[in-house]
Protein backbone atom coordinates (compact mmCIF):
# COMPACT_ATOMS: atom_id res chain seq x y z
CA UNK A 1 0.00 0.00 0.00
CA UNK A 2 1.45 3.34 -1.06
CA UNK A 3 2.07 6.10 1.43
CA UNK A 4 1.16 8.51 -1.32
CA UNK A 5 -2.49 9.21 -2.05
CA UNK A 6 -3.37 11.95 -4.55
CA UNK A 7 -3.31 14.65 -1.86
CA UNK A 8 0.13 13.54 -0.66
CA UNK A 9 1.48 13.62 -4.21
CA UNK A 10 0.09 17.09 -4.80
CA UNK A 11 1.70 18.31 -1.59
CA UNK A 12 5.15 17.43 -2.98
CA UNK A 13 5.03 19.96 -5.79
CA UNK A 14 4.22 23.57 -5.09
CA UNK A 15 4.18 26.50 -7.49
CA UNK A 16 7.87 27.29 -7.12
CA UNK A 17 9.38 24.52 -5.01
CA UNK A 18 9.57 20.74 -4.90
CA UNK A 19 9.85 18.35 -1.96
CA UNK A 20 13.17 16.47 -1.79
CA UNK A 21 11.36 13.11 -1.66
CA UNK A 22 10.59 13.56 -5.36
CA UNK A 23 14.27 12.76 -5.96
CA UNK A 24 15.20 10.42 -3.14
CA UNK A 25 12.21 8.26 -2.18
CA UNK A 26 12.37 4.78 -3.79
CA UNK A 27 8.61 4.41 -3.35
CA UNK A 28 8.00 7.42 -5.60
CA UNK A 29 10.41 5.95 -8.13
CA UNK A 30 8.30 2.77 -8.25
CA UNK A 31 5.18 4.87 -8.79
CA UNK A 32 6.92 6.81 -11.58
CA UNK A 33 7.60 3.57 -13.44
CA UNK A 34 3.84 2.90 -13.55
CA UNK A 35 2.34 6.33 -13.80
CA UNK A 36 4.86 8.22 -15.91
CA UNK A 37 6.88 5.66 -17.87
CA UNK A 38 3.83 3.38 -17.99
CA UNK A 39 1.62 6.06 -19.55
CA UNK A 40 3.59 8.70 -21.42
CA UNK A 41 4.83 8.48 -25.00
CA UNK A 42 8.34 7.10 -24.62
CA UNK A 43 10.99 7.35 -27.33
CA UNK A 44 12.14 3.82 -28.18
CA UNK A 45 14.35 4.31 -31.22
CA UNK A 46 14.95 5.82 -34.61
CA UNK A 47 13.81 4.00 -37.73
CA UNK A 48 17.33 4.13 -39.20
CA UNK A 49 18.46 1.80 -36.39
CA UNK A 50 16.37 -0.92 -38.03
CA UNK A 51 16.72 -0.25 -41.73
CA UNK A 52 16.44 -3.73 -43.23
CA UNK A 53 13.79 -6.43 -42.67
CA UNK A 54 14.84 -8.49 -39.66
CA UNK A 55 16.84 -5.67 -38.05
CA UNK A 56 16.19 -5.26 -34.36
CA UNK A 57 17.41 -3.32 -31.38
CA UNK A 58 16.60 -3.67 -27.69
CA UNK A 59 15.72 -0.99 -25.18
CA UNK A 60 13.57 -0.37 -22.12
CA UNK A 61 10.42 1.57 -21.40
CA UNK A 62 10.91 2.42 -17.76
CA UNK A 63 12.15 -1.00 -16.70
CA UNK A 64 10.16 -3.02 -19.23
CA UNK A 65 12.40 -4.98 -21.64
CA UNK A 66 11.54 -4.03 -25.21
CA UNK A 67 12.49 -5.10 -28.74
CA UNK A 68 12.15 -2.73 -31.67
CA UNK A 69 12.06 -4.69 -34.91
CA UNK A 70 11.56 -4.32 -38.64
CA UNK A 71 9.32 -7.05 -40.02
CA UNK A 72 9.60 -8.70 -43.45
CA UNK A 73 6.88 -6.38 -44.80
CA UNK A 74 8.84 -3.31 -43.67
CA UNK A 75 6.55 -2.53 -40.75
CA UNK A 76 8.01 -1.46 -37.38
CA UNK A 77 7.08 -3.40 -34.23
CA UNK A 78 7.63 -2.60 -30.58
CA UNK A 79 7.40 -5.83 -28.57
CA UNK A 80 7.84 -6.87 -24.99
CA UNK A 81 11.05 -8.88 -24.87
CA UNK A 82 9.42 -11.84 -23.15
CA UNK A 83 8.76 -15.37 -24.28
CA UNK A 84 5.08 -16.38 -24.38
CA UNK A 85 6.00 -19.73 -22.82
CA UNK A 86 7.89 -19.39 -19.53
CA UNK A 87 8.83 -15.73 -19.75
CA UNK A 88 12.51 -15.70 -20.68
CA UNK A 89 13.86 -12.59 -22.36
CA UNK A 90 13.92 -13.73 -25.98
CA UNK A 91 16.39 -11.34 -27.59
CA UNK A 92 19.62 -11.44 -25.62
CA UNK A 93 21.89 -9.03 -27.47
CA UNK A 94 21.63 -5.30 -28.03
CA UNK A 95 21.01 -5.28 -31.77
CA UNK A 96 21.29 -7.38 -34.87
CA UNK A 97 19.41 -8.97 -37.73
CA UNK A 98 17.32 -12.11 -37.49
CA UNK A 99 15.00 -14.18 -39.68
CA UNK A 100 13.04 -14.98 -36.54
CA UNK A 101 13.49 -14.75 -32.78
CA UNK A 102 14.10 -18.03 -31.02
CA UNK A 103 13.88 -18.34 -27.25
CA UNK A 104 17.10 -19.78 -25.80
CA UNK A 105 15.21 -21.80 -23.18
CA UNK A 106 12.71 -24.16 -24.87
CA UNK A 107 12.98 -23.03 -28.47
CA UNK A 108 9.68 -21.24 -29.00
CA UNK A 109 10.15 -19.24 -32.18
CA UNK A 110 8.62 -15.91 -33.16
CA UNK A 111 8.32 -13.95 -36.39
CA UNK A 112 9.87 -10.49 -36.33
CA UNK A 113 6.39 -9.03 -35.82
CA UNK A 114 6.16 -10.97 -32.55
CA UNK A 115 3.67 -13.62 -33.71
CA UNK A 116 4.37 -17.18 -32.64
CA UNK A 117 5.77 -19.27 -35.48
CA UNK A 118 6.58 -22.65 -33.95
CA UNK A 119 6.76 -24.51 -30.67
CA UNK A 120 8.42 -27.91 -30.13
CA UNK A 121 6.22 -30.87 -29.05
CA UNK A 122 3.02 -29.34 -30.42
CA UNK A 123 0.99 -32.47 -29.72
CA UNK A 124 1.66 -32.05 -26.02
CA UNK A 125 -0.66 -29.04 -26.09
CA UNK A 126 -3.62 -30.96 -27.50
CA UNK A 127 -6.59 -30.55 -25.22
CA UNK A 128 -5.23 -27.41 -23.53
CA UNK A 129 -6.36 -23.91 -24.43
CA UNK A 130 -3.00 -23.22 -26.09
CA UNK A 131 -3.42 -21.95 -29.65
CA UNK A 132 -0.41 -21.03 -31.75
CA UNK A 133 -2.50 -18.30 -33.40
CA UNK A 134 -3.54 -16.79 -30.08
CA UNK A 135 -1.62 -13.49 -29.76
CA UNK A 136 -1.37 -14.08 -26.00
CA UNK A 137 1.33 -16.67 -26.68
CA UNK A 138 3.34 -14.40 -28.95
CA UNK A 139 5.83 -11.74 -28.01
CA UNK A 140 3.21 -9.16 -27.15
CA UNK A 141 3.23 -5.77 -28.85
CA UNK A 142 3.10 -2.70 -26.62
CA UNK A 143 -0.34 -1.10 -26.85
CA UNK A 144 0.50 1.94 -28.93
CA UNK A 145 3.29 2.90 -31.35
CA UNK A 146 3.70 6.04 -33.45
CA UNK A 147 6.46 7.15 -35.77
CA UNK A 148 7.01 10.86 -36.31
CA UNK A 149 9.48 11.54 -39.12
CA UNK A 150 11.60 8.54 -38.13
CA UNK A 151 11.39 9.00 -34.36
CA UNK A 152 9.55 5.99 -32.92
CA UNK A 153 7.59 6.48 -29.72
CA UNK A 154 5.57 3.89 -27.80
CA UNK A 155 3.10 3.99 -24.96
CA UNK A 156 2.34 1.18 -22.53
CA UNK A 157 -1.12 2.67 -22.03
CA UNK A 158 -3.91 1.55 -24.36
CA UNK A 159 -5.74 4.85 -23.88
CA UNK A 160 -4.42 8.37 -23.93
CA UNK A 161 -3.57 11.31 -26.13
CA UNK A 162 -2.12 10.67 -29.59
CA UNK A 163 1.58 11.41 -30.04
CA UNK A 164 0.67 14.62 -31.89
CA UNK A 165 -1.55 15.69 -29.00
CA UNK A 166 1.04 14.71 -26.41
CA UNK A 167 3.98 16.53 -28.02
CA UNK A 168 2.04 19.46 -29.45
CA UNK A 169 4.22 22.08 -31.08
CA UNK A 170 7.33 20.64 -29.34
CA UNK A 171 7.40 18.35 -32.40
CA UNK A 172 8.76 21.36 -34.30
CA UNK A 173 12.20 20.51 -32.86
CA UNK A 174 12.04 17.13 -34.60
CA UNK A 175 11.14 19.02 -37.78
CA UNK A 176 14.11 21.29 -37.14
CA UNK A 177 16.47 18.30 -36.91
CA UNK A 178 15.08 16.46 -39.96
CA UNK A 179 14.64 19.53 -42.17
CA UNK A 180 18.36 20.26 -41.80
CA UNK A 181 19.03 17.28 -44.06
CA UNK A 182 19.07 18.15 -47.77
CA UNK A 183 17.22 14.84 -48.26
CA UNK A 184 14.88 15.35 -45.32
CA UNK A 185 16.16 12.26 -43.51
CA UNK A 186 18.45 11.33 -40.64
CA UNK A 187 20.63 8.29 -40.28
CA UNK A 188 21.95 7.08 -36.94
CA UNK A 189 25.69 6.58 -36.94
CA UNK A 190 27.44 3.60 -35.40
CA UNK A 191 28.12 3.23 -31.70
CA UNK A 192 26.22 4.53 -28.71
CA UNK A 193 27.55 6.22 -25.60
CA UNK A 194 26.11 4.68 -22.45
CA UNK A 195 26.86 7.03 -19.60
CA UNK A 196 25.80 6.32 -16.03
CA UNK A 197 25.48 8.80 -13.19
CA UNK A 198 24.47 8.46 -9.57
CA UNK A 199 21.47 10.69 -9.48
CA UNK A 200 17.74 10.66 -10.07
CA UNK A 201 16.74 10.93 -13.73
CA UNK A 202 14.80 14.16 -13.16
CA UNK A 203 17.95 16.00 -12.08
CA UNK A 204 19.35 15.44 -15.57
CA UNK A 205 16.08 16.38 -17.28
CA UNK A 206 16.06 19.64 -15.31
CA UNK A 207 19.63 20.39 -16.33
CA UNK A 208 18.89 20.16 -20.05
CA UNK A 209 17.29 23.61 -20.08
CA UNK A 210 19.14 25.03 -17.08
CA UNK A 211 20.90 28.12 -18.39
CA UNK A 212 22.55 29.31 -15.20
CA UNK A 213 24.77 26.31 -14.53
CA UNK A 214 27.16 26.47 -17.54
CA UNK A 215 29.22 29.45 -16.39
CA UNK A 216 29.60 27.86 -12.95
CA UNK A 217 29.76 24.08 -13.47
CA UNK A 218 31.78 24.25 -16.68
CA UNK A 219 34.35 26.80 -15.56
CA UNK A 220 37.24 24.35 -16.01
CA UNK A 221 36.38 23.49 -19.63
CA UNK A 222 35.45 27.11 -20.44
CA UNK A 223 38.90 28.11 -19.21
CA UNK A 224 40.52 25.24 -21.14
CA UNK A 225 39.01 26.62 -24.35
CA UNK A 226 39.95 30.21 -23.50
CA UNK A 227 43.51 29.43 -22.43
CA UNK A 228 44.16 27.19 -25.42
CA UNK A 229 42.89 29.89 -27.80
CA UNK A 230 44.96 32.60 -26.09
CA UNK A 231 48.11 30.51 -26.32
CA UNK A 232 47.68 29.28 -29.88
CA UNK A 233 45.54 31.67 -31.93
CA UNK A 234 46.32 35.17 -33.16
CA UNK A 235 44.12 37.91 -31.67
CA UNK A 236 40.67 37.94 -33.32
CA UNK A 237 41.13 34.64 -35.18
CA UNK A 238 37.95 32.52 -35.43
CA UNK A 239 37.67 29.81 -32.76
CA UNK A 240 37.95 26.21 -33.84
CA UNK A 241 34.72 24.34 -33.09
CA UNK A 242 36.34 22.52 -30.17
CA UNK A 243 37.05 25.85 -28.52
CA UNK A 244 33.52 27.14 -29.10
CA UNK A 245 31.95 23.99 -27.65
CA UNK A 246 33.79 24.69 -24.42
CA UNK A 247 34.17 28.45 -24.28
CA UNK A 248 30.56 29.40 -25.13
CA UNK A 249 29.39 27.83 -21.87
CA UNK A 250 31.18 30.72 -20.22
CA UNK A 251 29.01 33.39 -21.82
CA UNK A 252 27.71 35.85 -19.21
CA UNK A 253 24.26 35.69 -17.62
CA UNK A 254 23.12 38.52 -19.92
CA UNK A 255 23.63 36.26 -22.95
CA UNK A 256 21.60 33.42 -21.44
CA UNK A 257 18.93 35.83 -20.21
CA UNK A 258 18.21 36.78 -23.83
CA UNK A 259 17.80 33.17 -24.99
CA UNK A 260 14.39 31.84 -25.87
CA UNK A 261 12.91 29.48 -23.31
CA UNK A 262 9.66 27.88 -24.40
CA UNK A 263 7.70 25.29 -22.44
CA UNK A 264 4.74 23.16 -23.48
CA UNK A 265 2.01 21.19 -21.76
CA UNK A 266 3.13 17.66 -20.71
CA UNK A 267 6.58 18.80 -19.56
CA UNK A 268 8.30 19.48 -22.88
CA UNK A 269 10.51 22.51 -23.53
CA UNK A 270 13.45 23.89 -25.45
CA UNK A 271 16.01 26.65 -25.12
CA UNK A 272 17.64 28.80 -27.77
CA UNK A 273 20.99 27.87 -29.30
CA UNK A 274 24.40 28.66 -27.84
CA UNK A 275 26.67 27.40 -30.64
CA UNK A 276 25.29 29.23 -33.72
CA UNK A 277 27.13 28.31 -36.92
CA UNK A 278 29.31 30.95 -38.54
CA UNK A 279 28.64 32.18 -42.07
CA UNK A 280 32.36 32.80 -42.43
CA UNK A 281 33.00 29.04 -42.08
CA UNK A 282 33.57 27.59 -45.59
CA UNK A 283 32.43 24.13 -44.45
CA UNK A 284 29.15 25.56 -43.22
CA UNK A 285 28.69 27.52 -46.44
CA UNK A 286 29.24 24.35 -48.47
CA UNK A 287 26.42 22.81 -46.45
CA UNK A 288 24.20 25.88 -47.01
CA UNK A 289 24.83 25.47 -50.76
CA UNK A 290 23.69 21.82 -50.58
CA UNK A 291 20.56 22.93 -48.73
CA UNK A 292 19.80 25.66 -51.27
CA UNK A 293 20.18 23.16 -54.05
CA UNK A 294 17.59 20.94 -52.36
CA UNK A 295 15.13 23.49 -51.01
CA UNK A 296 15.81 26.83 -52.72
CA UNK A 297 17.11 29.96 -51.02
CA UNK A 298 14.00 31.06 -49.20
CA UNK A 299 13.10 27.72 -47.62
CA UNK A 300 16.75 27.12 -46.67
CA UNK A 301 16.86 30.50 -44.95
CA UNK A 302 13.67 29.57 -43.09
CA UNK A 303 15.08 26.20 -41.95
CA UNK A 304 18.49 27.51 -40.90
CA UNK A 305 17.14 30.55 -39.08
CA UNK A 306 15.95 28.18 -36.33
CA UNK A 307 18.56 27.82 -33.57
CA UNK A 308 17.62 25.58 -30.65
CA UNK A 309 19.87 23.97 -28.08
CA UNK A 310 18.34 21.10 -26.08
CA UNK A 311 14.71 20.16 -26.60
CA UNK A 312 13.15 17.90 -23.98
CA UNK A 313 10.35 15.51 -24.87
CA UNK A 314 9.28 14.66 -21.37
CA UNK A 315 10.07 12.31 -19.77
CA UNK A 316 12.77 10.34 -21.56
CA UNK A 317 14.40 11.92 -24.57
CA UNK A 318 16.23 15.07 -25.52
CA UNK A 319 17.57 16.18 -28.87
CA UNK A 320 20.09 18.81 -29.88
CA UNK A 321 18.78 19.44 -33.38
CA UNK A 322 21.57 21.73 -34.65
CA UNK A 323 24.32 19.17 -34.06
CA UNK A 324 22.12 16.07 -34.47
CA UNK A 325 22.45 14.53 -31.02
CA UNK A 326 19.90 12.48 -29.11
CA UNK A 327 20.01 11.54 -25.45
CA UNK A 328 17.80 8.72 -24.26
CA UNK A 329 17.21 8.88 -20.51
CA UNK A 330 16.91 5.49 -18.79
CA UNK A 331 16.15 5.53 -15.07
CA UNK A 332 17.85 2.56 -13.36
CA UNK A 333 16.86 3.28 -9.77
CA UNK A 334 15.92 6.28 -7.66
CA UNK A 335 19.56 7.38 -7.52
CA UNK A 336 21.04 5.92 -10.70
CA UNK A 337 20.40 6.80 -14.33
CA UNK A 338 21.82 5.76 -17.67
CA UNK A 339 21.75 7.92 -20.71
CA UNK A 340 22.26 6.42 -24.15
CA UNK A 341 23.55 8.97 -26.61
CA UNK A 342 23.21 8.68 -30.38
CA UNK A 343 24.50 10.91 -33.15
CA UNK A 344 22.96 11.28 -36.59
CA UNK A 345 24.11 12.09 -40.08
CA UNK A 346 22.05 14.56 -42.10
CA UNK A 347 21.51 12.62 -45.31
CA UNK A 348 22.80 14.56 -48.28
CA UNK A 349 24.97 16.95 -46.23
CA UNK A 350 28.68 17.24 -47.12
CA UNK A 351 31.03 14.88 -45.22
CA UNK A 352 33.12 17.75 -43.88
CA UNK A 353 30.04 19.30 -42.28
CA UNK A 354 29.13 15.98 -40.68
CA UNK A 355 32.47 16.14 -38.83
CA UNK A 356 30.98 18.96 -36.75
CA UNK A 357 28.48 16.42 -35.41
CA UNK A 358 31.34 14.05 -34.54
CA UNK A 359 33.25 16.77 -32.71
CA UNK A 360 30.12 17.65 -30.73
CA UNK A 361 29.56 13.97 -29.82
CA UNK A 362 33.12 13.60 -28.76
CA UNK A 363 33.43 16.80 -26.73
CA UNK A 364 29.98 16.99 -25.18
CA UNK A 365 28.37 13.54 -25.06
CA UNK A 366 31.08 10.89 -24.77
CA UNK A 367 31.67 9.39 -21.31
CA UNK A 368 35.13 10.91 -21.74
CA UNK A 369 33.70 14.31 -22.70
CA UNK A 370 35.72 17.34 -21.60
CA UNK A 371 32.45 19.05 -20.57
CA UNK A 372 30.23 16.39 -19.02
CA UNK A 373 32.23 15.20 -15.98
CA UNK A 374 31.51 18.46 -14.19
CA UNK A 375 27.77 18.12 -14.93
CA UNK A 376 27.76 14.61 -13.53
CA UNK A 377 29.68 15.72 -10.47
CA UNK A 378 26.92 18.29 -9.88
CA UNK A 379 24.07 15.76 -10.40
CA UNK A 380 25.74 13.28 -8.06
CA UNK A 381 26.24 15.93 -5.42
CA UNK A 382 22.60 17.05 -5.66
CA UNK A 383 21.58 13.45 -5.02
CA UNK A 384 23.96 13.19 -2.06
CA UNK A 385 22.95 16.59 -0.69
CA UNK A 386 19.21 15.95 -0.88
CA UNK A 387 19.58 13.14 1.63
CA UNK A 388 20.18 15.88 4.20
CA UNK A 389 17.24 16.50 6.48
CA UNK A 390 18.14 20.18 6.80
CA UNK A 391 15.27 21.24 4.56
CA UNK A 392 12.55 19.38 2.72
CA UNK A 393 12.40 21.86 -0.15
CA UNK A 394 14.21 22.46 -3.39
CA UNK A 395 13.89 26.00 -4.74
CA UNK A 396 12.69 26.59 -8.29
CA UNK A 397 11.74 30.21 -7.72
CA UNK A 398 13.80 32.16 -10.22
CA UNK A 399 11.54 34.34 -12.35
CA UNK A 400 8.44 32.56 -11.09
CA UNK A 401 5.24 34.39 -11.93
CA UNK A 402 6.82 36.32 -14.83
CA UNK A 403 5.95 33.86 -17.59
CA UNK A 404 4.25 34.88 -20.82
CA UNK A 405 1.25 32.78 -21.85
CA UNK A 406 1.01 32.29 -25.58
CA UNK A 407 -1.20 30.08 -27.74
CA UNK A 408 0.04 26.50 -27.26
CA UNK A 409 3.04 27.34 -25.08
CA UNK A 410 4.54 29.55 -22.39
CA UNK A 411 7.73 31.58 -22.64
CA UNK A 412 10.02 33.35 -20.21
CA UNK A 413 13.41 35.01 -20.12
CA UNK A 414 16.26 32.58 -20.74
CA UNK A 415 17.43 32.31 -17.15
CA UNK A 416 14.04 31.43 -15.65
CA UNK A 417 13.47 28.11 -13.86
CA UNK A 418 10.21 27.80 -15.80
CA UNK A 419 11.17 24.50 -17.55
CA UNK A 420 11.72 22.77 -14.19
CA UNK A 421 8.47 24.10 -12.75
CA UNK A 422 6.71 22.92 -15.88
CA UNK A 423 8.28 19.43 -15.64
CA UNK A 424 7.28 19.04 -12.00
CA UNK A 425 3.76 20.28 -12.66
CA UNK A 426 3.45 17.52 -15.29
CA UNK A 427 5.01 15.03 -12.87
CA UNK A 428 2.47 15.91 -10.20
CA UNK A 429 -0.47 15.65 -12.58
CA UNK A 430 0.58 12.25 -13.92
CA UNK A 431 1.54 10.88 -10.52
CA UNK A 432 -1.71 12.00 -8.86
CA UNK A 433 -3.84 10.51 -11.62
CA UNK A 434 -5.25 7.21 -10.37
CA UNK A 435 -3.50 7.57 -6.99
Amino acid sequence: MSHYDAAAIRALVQADRVHRNVYVDPELFELEMDRIFGRAWIWVGHESQIKAPGDYTTTTIGRQPIVLSRHTDGSIHVLYNRCGHRGAKVVGDREGNAKFFRCCYHGWTYRTDGSLLAVPLRKGYDGTDFDIKDPRYGMLPVPRVENYRGFVFASLAAEGPTLAEYLGDARSSIDDMVDRSPEGALEVIGGCFRVVFRANWKIFVENLNDTTHPMVVHESSVEAGKIWAREHLPEGAPDPLAVRFTRNNGFPYEFFQKLTLRVYPNGHSFMGGIFPPRRTDPVYMEYVAAMEQAYGKERTEQILSVDRHNTIFYPNVSIQSGYQQLRHIRPLSVDRTQMDVYAFRLKGAPDEFYKHTLIYSNMVNSPSSIVMPDDHEAYNRVQEGLVAQASDWVSLQRDAGRDQQEAGWTTSIGTSELPMRNQHHTWMRMMAQGA
Binding site: G191, F193, V196, R198, E223, W228, V243, P367, P373, H376
Partner: protein, 178 residues
Protein backbone atom coordinates in the same frame (compact mmCIF):
# COMPACT_ATOMS: atom_id res chain seq x y z
CA UNK B 1 74.01 -18.74 -37.05
CA UNK B 2 76.13 -16.31 -39.01
CA UNK B 3 77.70 -13.38 -37.26
CA UNK B 4 75.59 -10.86 -39.21
CA UNK B 5 72.32 -12.61 -38.26
CA UNK B 6 73.34 -12.71 -34.62
CA UNK B 7 74.03 -8.98 -34.67
CA UNK B 8 70.65 -8.25 -36.23
CA UNK B 9 68.93 -10.33 -33.55
CA UNK B 10 70.76 -8.50 -30.77
CA UNK B 11 69.87 -5.18 -32.35
CA UNK B 12 66.20 -6.18 -32.55
CA UNK B 13 66.29 -7.26 -28.92
CA UNK B 14 67.86 -3.98 -27.85
CA UNK B 15 65.25 -2.07 -29.81
CA UNK B 16 62.35 -4.00 -28.28
CA UNK B 17 63.69 -3.43 -24.83
CA UNK B 18 64.02 0.31 -25.57
CA UNK B 19 60.43 0.30 -26.85
CA UNK B 20 59.27 -1.36 -23.66
CA UNK B 21 61.02 1.34 -21.67
CA UNK B 22 59.29 3.95 -23.83
CA UNK B 23 55.83 2.50 -23.10
CA UNK B 24 56.63 2.22 -19.37
CA UNK B 25 57.72 5.85 -19.41
CA UNK B 26 54.37 6.90 -20.90
CA UNK B 27 52.53 4.85 -18.26
CA UNK B 28 54.49 6.50 -15.45
CA UNK B 29 53.91 10.00 -16.82
CA UNK B 30 50.17 9.27 -16.90
CA UNK B 31 50.12 7.77 -13.40
CA UNK B 32 52.14 10.66 -11.99
CA UNK B 33 50.15 13.27 -13.94
CA UNK B 34 53.24 14.78 -15.49
CA UNK B 35 51.07 16.18 -18.23
CA UNK B 36 53.52 18.40 -20.09
CA UNK B 37 56.07 15.61 -20.29
CA UNK B 38 53.33 13.25 -21.41
CA UNK B 39 52.18 15.64 -24.15
CA UNK B 40 55.78 15.99 -25.29
CA UNK B 41 55.75 12.29 -26.20
CA UNK B 42 53.18 13.04 -28.90
CA UNK B 43 53.82 14.50 -32.34
CA UNK B 44 52.18 17.75 -33.46
CA UNK B 45 49.97 15.78 -35.88
CA UNK B 46 49.12 13.04 -33.37
CA UNK B 47 45.85 11.17 -33.05
CA UNK B 48 44.66 9.60 -29.79
CA UNK B 49 41.85 7.13 -30.36
CA UNK B 50 39.67 4.98 -28.10
CA UNK B 51 36.95 3.24 -30.16
CA UNK B 52 33.45 2.75 -28.74
CA UNK B 53 32.80 -0.63 -30.36
CA UNK B 54 34.83 -3.82 -30.67
CA UNK B 55 36.80 -3.96 -33.91
CA UNK B 56 35.80 -0.42 -34.86
CA UNK B 57 36.82 0.29 -38.46
CA UNK B 58 37.19 4.06 -38.36
CA UNK B 59 36.53 7.14 -36.22
CA UNK B 60 34.11 8.60 -38.80
CA UNK B 61 31.18 6.21 -39.20
CA UNK B 62 31.10 5.22 -35.55
CA UNK B 63 31.43 7.46 -32.50
CA UNK B 64 34.56 7.13 -30.35
CA UNK B 65 35.20 7.49 -26.62
CA UNK B 66 38.24 9.55 -27.54
CA UNK B 67 39.18 10.79 -31.01
CA UNK B 68 41.56 13.57 -30.12
CA UNK B 69 43.94 15.67 -32.11
CA UNK B 70 46.71 17.51 -30.33
CA UNK B 71 44.60 20.62 -29.72
CA UNK B 72 42.00 18.63 -27.84
CA UNK B 73 44.60 16.70 -25.84
CA UNK B 74 46.08 20.03 -24.77
CA UNK B 75 42.66 21.42 -23.83
CA UNK B 76 41.97 18.35 -21.71
CA UNK B 77 45.28 18.72 -19.94
CA UNK B 78 44.45 22.36 -19.14
CA UNK B 79 41.05 21.29 -17.79
CA UNK B 80 42.08 18.49 -15.48
CA UNK B 81 44.59 20.80 -13.81
CA UNK B 82 42.16 23.70 -13.40
CA UNK B 83 41.39 24.48 -9.74
CA UNK B 84 37.66 24.70 -10.57
CA UNK B 85 37.42 21.30 -12.25
CA UNK B 86 34.86 20.23 -9.66
CA UNK B 87 34.89 16.65 -10.81
CA UNK B 88 38.56 16.61 -9.82
CA UNK B 89 37.87 17.97 -6.32
CA UNK B 90 38.81 14.50 -5.32
CA UNK B 91 41.42 13.84 -7.99
CA UNK B 92 41.25 10.64 -10.01
CA UNK B 93 44.21 8.32 -9.44
CA UNK B 94 45.40 5.80 -11.97
CA UNK B 95 47.79 2.90 -12.18
CA UNK B 96 48.78 1.52 -15.58
CA UNK B 97 50.34 -1.92 -16.05
CA UNK B 98 51.80 -2.46 -19.51
CA UNK B 99 52.65 -5.93 -20.74
CA UNK B 100 52.90 -8.24 -23.76
CA UNK B 101 54.95 -5.64 -25.61
CA UNK B 102 55.86 -6.67 -29.14
CA UNK B 103 56.33 -5.19 -32.56
CA UNK B 104 52.86 -5.43 -34.09
CA UNK B 105 53.08 -8.47 -36.39
CA UNK B 106 50.56 -6.77 -38.69
CA UNK B 107 52.44 -3.49 -38.65
CA UNK B 108 49.22 -1.78 -37.55
CA UNK B 109 47.51 -2.67 -40.81
CA UNK B 110 43.74 -2.31 -40.67
CA UNK B 111 43.92 -0.72 -37.22
CA UNK B 112 44.66 2.91 -38.05
CA UNK B 113 41.04 3.68 -38.95
CA UNK B 114 42.11 5.06 -42.31
CA UNK B 115 44.13 7.87 -40.71
CA UNK B 116 47.49 6.70 -42.18
CA UNK B 117 49.80 8.06 -39.48
CA UNK B 118 53.38 8.71 -40.55
CA UNK B 119 55.23 6.16 -38.44
CA UNK B 120 58.38 4.06 -38.48
CA UNK B 121 57.04 1.17 -36.44
CA UNK B 122 53.96 -0.03 -34.63
CA UNK B 123 54.15 -1.51 -31.13
CA UNK B 124 51.41 -3.61 -29.67
CA UNK B 125 50.86 -4.09 -25.95
CA UNK B 126 48.26 -4.98 -23.36
CA UNK B 127 47.25 -2.53 -20.66
CA UNK B 128 45.42 -2.91 -17.37
CA UNK B 129 44.40 0.34 -15.76
CA UNK B 130 43.22 0.60 -12.20
CA UNK B 131 41.37 3.83 -11.52
CA UNK B 132 40.36 5.21 -8.16
CA UNK B 133 38.22 8.21 -7.24
CA UNK B 134 36.37 9.05 -4.05
CA UNK B 135 35.20 5.73 -2.63
CA UNK B 136 35.56 3.39 -5.54
CA UNK B 137 37.94 1.85 -8.00
CA UNK B 138 37.28 0.41 -11.42
CA UNK B 139 39.24 -1.45 -14.07
CA UNK B 140 39.88 -0.86 -17.73
CA UNK B 141 41.85 -3.19 -19.92
CA UNK B 142 42.61 -3.95 -23.51
CA UNK B 143 44.94 -3.88 -26.45
CA UNK B 144 47.04 -0.85 -27.26
CA UNK B 145 48.83 0.08 -30.45
CA UNK B 146 51.39 2.86 -30.66
CA UNK B 147 52.43 4.20 -34.06
CA UNK B 148 55.91 5.54 -33.33
CA UNK B 149 58.00 7.96 -35.30
CA UNK B 150 61.75 8.22 -34.80
CA UNK B 151 62.87 11.50 -33.23
CA UNK B 152 66.65 11.51 -32.90
CA UNK B 153 67.55 8.51 -30.78
CA UNK B 154 64.07 8.46 -29.22
CA UNK B 155 60.52 8.06 -30.48
CA UNK B 156 57.37 10.13 -30.57
CA UNK B 157 53.81 8.87 -30.67
CA UNK B 158 52.10 9.66 -33.97
CA UNK B 159 49.01 7.66 -33.03
CA UNK B 160 47.75 5.65 -30.08
CA UNK B 161 44.77 3.33 -30.31
CA UNK B 162 43.32 1.69 -27.21
CA UNK B 163 40.78 -1.09 -27.72
CA UNK B 164 39.12 -1.56 -24.34
CA UNK B 165 37.38 -4.86 -23.71
CA UNK B 166 34.68 -2.81 -21.96
CA UNK B 167 34.50 -0.04 -24.58
CA UNK B 168 30.73 -0.48 -25.08
CA UNK B 169 29.81 -0.94 -21.42
CA UNK B 170 27.61 1.55 -19.62
CA UNK B 171 30.15 3.56 -17.66
CA UNK B 172 30.50 6.59 -15.49
CA UNK B 173 32.54 9.48 -16.87
CA UNK B 174 36.19 8.94 -17.72
CA UNK B 175 38.29 11.99 -16.96
CA UNK B 176 41.94 11.12 -17.44
CA UNK B 177 43.82 9.41 -20.24
CA UNK B 178 44.03 5.68 -20.81
Amino acid sequence: MTLAKGKAKTAAKTELSALEQFLYREAILLDEKRWQEWLALYTEDCFYWVPSVVGQKDPINTVSLYAEDRMRLEMRVIRVQHPHAFSQDFPTRMSHVVGNVMLDPDGGRGADGGTHPKADLVVRSTVHILEFRKDEQRLFGGTVRHWLRRAGDDWQIAMKRIDLINCDAPMEVVQLFL
